[in-house]
């Protein structure tokens, strides 16, 4: 028997697995999947980039766990020790913080590209819903993780953020105590946020992420409508496996490098330790992705009609979020290929509002 006809070790292993789990069916499925080519092509990458940054979060997060100690007396001290004494501790923390921010950014780009190319239309309505849940969990990650170093900014950001929850009618008081673990933001809050950040959210996120990915693999990539209408010979595509996946991996490498440069050149700072009996510092502000809400709360007057301004703001953002979740179902004409113009306009208004309010927050 010649060496050429003898199966390679990889082929043999595949054969062994296939005999037991029919793995070739799965690979065949991946082999059939294609990615439509066109001017919109670049947007397909952002979901993958978000996924990659999530993996960076998990890895760096586990590394941080080796040194971080939750608790009012130890949290700030352990982060200080981590960034000043532990070799490359500052780098791991900086990577974790930067990739968190880049992940939120990538998710926003991914979400708005799906919105503006109407990739959410039938049959992908529930992919939009699972994506929305992932966004909500990501913001929860950002909010809960922000408190963990127990510095001044984190302390007041958490006070404000949880107080907003407390302003909700009926359930507000219960949720406030549930989140804070006491009436005020204390060490009990830190313990709860730690648990939420490292156990509850990762578990939920991983489950919904699996659903989101299965939905995408099952239905394939959405093709913009104008390309769908083209004759078959004009429509171009690329195999997902391995061509698109390799491009994905190459981009992930680029993102990793950008992340490394950011983490090294602009290492994440640690503010002074939280002091519950110090006034809120001037210039206090949240992470950039909460900035538009923060600015809105600043601008709202004390009372709007009979409701307190803050409650009005929360209700408006709550209803806005709900409508955003329901976008695929609001775009009723999507099955016929028509589009409600008002939905497109509303999307542009949302992007413009977020951009203007965020910029305003940083200019002041």
């Amino acid at each position: 028997m010649s060496a050429a006809s003898e199966p390679q070790p990889l082929g043999r292993a595949l054969g062994w697995l296939d005999e037991r789990y029919r793995i070739r069916e799965l690979l065949g499925f991946l082999g059939h999947k294609t990615v439509p080519l066109g001017p919109h092509f670049v947007w397909y990458y952002f979901g993958g980039v978000s996924l990659f940054l999530f993996m960076v979060q998990v890895l760096t997060g586990i590394m941080l766990l080796l040194y971080y100690q939750p608790g009012e007396a130890t949290a700030h001290e352990s982060v200080k020790f981590l960034i000043s004494e532990v070799q490359f501790g500052w780098l791991v923390r900086s990577l974790h913080s930067w990739s968190a921010n880049l992940m939120v950014g990538a998710i926003f780009v991914h979400m708005f590209s799906v919105f503006f190319t109407r990739a959410y239309r039938k049959p992908r309505e529930l992919t939009w819903v699972s994506g929305f849940l992932l966004l909500a969990l990501t913001l929860g990650f950002g909010f809960s993780g922000y408190l963990l170093p127990w510095d001044e900014l984190a302390f007041f950001a958490t006070k404000v953020g949880t107080d907003i929850v407390g302003a909700l009618p009926v359930v507000g008081d219960f949720l406030l105590v549930l989140l804070r673990g006491s009436e005020d933001v204390t060490g009990a809050t830190l313990t709860r946020f730690f648990g939420i950040h490292i156990a509850l959210l990762p578990g939920l996120f991983t489950m919904i992420l699996a659903v989101h990915l299965i939905q995408i693999q099952r239905q394939g990539m959405s093709e913009p409508e104008h390309l769908q209408k083209q004759p078959a010979e004009k429509r171009r595509s690329m195999p997902f496996f391995p061509a698109f996946l390799l491009r994905d991996l190459l981009l992930w490498l680029v993102v990793l490098n950008v992340l490394a440069v950011l983490a090294v050149v602009f290492p994440w700072e640690l503010g002074p330790k939280a002091d519950p009996f110090a006034p809120a510092p001037a210039g206090i502000r949240p992470e950039w992705y909460f900035m538009f809400m923060f600015e809105t709360l600043k601008l709202l007057p004390a009372h709007i009609w009979i409701v307190e301004g803050e409650l009005f703001g929360i209700l408006v953002f709550g209803i806005g979020g709900l409508l955003w979740l329901l976008v695929p179902f609001l775009d009723r004409g999507s099955e016929r290929g028509a589009r409600h113009r008002w939905l497109l306009r509303a999307g542009i208004v949302v992007v413009a509002y977020i951009a203007i309010m965020t910029a305003r927050g940083y200019m002041q």
């Binding site: 007041f156 006070k159 404000v160 949880t162 107080d163 907003i164 302003a167 219960f174 105590v177 549930l178 673990g181 006491s182 005020d184 009990a188 519950p276 009996f277 110090a278 006034p279 809120a280 510092p281 001037a282 210039g283 206090i284 923060f294 709360l297 600043k298 709202l300 007057p301 004390a302 009372h303 307190e308 301004g309 803050e310």
Partner: protein, 144 residues
């Protein structure tokens, strides 16, 4: 005459009721566990804040009143006023701005005058006022 309850309907109801009761016995302890026990902290009714000489006119001091922060302001006119230092908007701790002669919250730019009344920005209500007594150069603050 009411319809007789069939055996199937009866069993469905019993099973459904059983499921609801089972959920209740599971969820009640879970929610009770999530709610932290109310700690009985001694409610401070009066506290010694500072010596009069420590707080010059047109300045202020944040002090601990039980578990909450309070703010004692010595106005430019020489009056002493004390308030709960928690902003009525979203729970931040306020501070005194000597250049504006106002109480200011850095979080959302809320402002209060030296009577503790919300005069600008988002705060919906005035700050809660405390009573100030001076005894032998020592400033005491107590709840009204």
């Amino acid at each position: 005459m009411p319809e007789p309850v069939s055996r199937r309907r009866f069993l469905d109801l019993a099973l459904g009721g059983g499921v609801v009761a089972w959920l209740g016995t599971v969820l009640y302890p879970v929610f009770s566990y999530l709610k932290p026990p109310a700690t009985r902290e001694p409610v401070a009714t009066s506290v010694k804040v500072a010596k009069l000489s420590e707080i010059p006119p047109n300045s202020a001091k944040i002090f601990k009143f039980g578990t909450k922060p309070g703010i004692l302001v010595h106005t430019a006119q020489g009056e002493l006023r004390a308030f709960n230092a928690i902003c009525t908007h979203l729970d931040c701790t306020v501070q005194y701005k000597p250049e504006w002669k106002l109480i200011w919250c850095a979080c959302h730019n809320g402002r209060y005058n030296l009577e503790g009344i919300n005069i600008s920005g988002p705060p919906p209500r005035p700050l809660q006022e405390f009573t100030v007594h001076v005894k032998d150069d020592e400033i005491h603050v107590s709840r009204v």
